[in-house]
Amino acid sequence: MGALVTVRVQREDFDLSAEVSRLSFDRPEIGAVVTFSGLCRDEAGTLAALELEHYPGMAEAEITRICELAIERFGLQAATAIHRYGKINPGENIVLVVTASPHRQAAFDGANFIMDFLKTSAPFWKKEHLADGTTGGWVSAKDADDTARDRWKR
């Protein structure tokens, strides 16, 4: 039986299909798997790369806490979250969330919940490198992300 929660913070890319297989291997009770992946956008050609800084130790701990909350709240059968750090080019993967449940709604909601909390409370920071060779500075946190997280309050 696969692990309930799998969390990795890594420089390397990940493979969506391999992570889905890992999560659902020998788990015939799973009926739904939802996969979300977040990619680096090129911002209409202006962005050369993103550089992701993280707080080693806390990043893993915080994502694990979020996954455990989601498992508890939505009755997930498993959750995987992988977040990359370092320099990431447009088109490359940044983050992966995979959730599993007996029926689809819990897996959809669980993945959504994990992403909303991950964006506002997992210790990662993005710095922009622009296509014109300059450093664009640190990406600002968005109020919309706080709003997205707060809709889960009850």
Binding site: G38, L52, E53, H54, Y55, G57, M58, A61, E62, H83, I94, V95, M115, L118, K119, T120, S121, A122, P123, F124, W125, K126, K127, W138, V139, S140, A141, D145
Partner: protein, 86 residues
Amino acid sequence: MSTVNLVYFSWVRERIGKGEETLEVPAGVVTIADLLSHLKTLGEEYETALEHQNVIRAAINQEHVEHDEPIAGAREIALFPPMTGG
């Protein structure tokens, strides 16, 4: 007097000019808010980094805390801007 390991990230790290340091915590510095006020007296780089004090997020021993959290017993305190992962 006790010592605590401070770690900084993102533009807080860049503006202070280092990623970590050990600090002697003076008597009277009880909460994260007190710590921020104290750090701002240590030099221009701290003043600049922590100017907008309400924006600064803090973690004690790798867990998020509010500014009114007491720092007694903390091994590691992290200061950083709002997070932008995902």
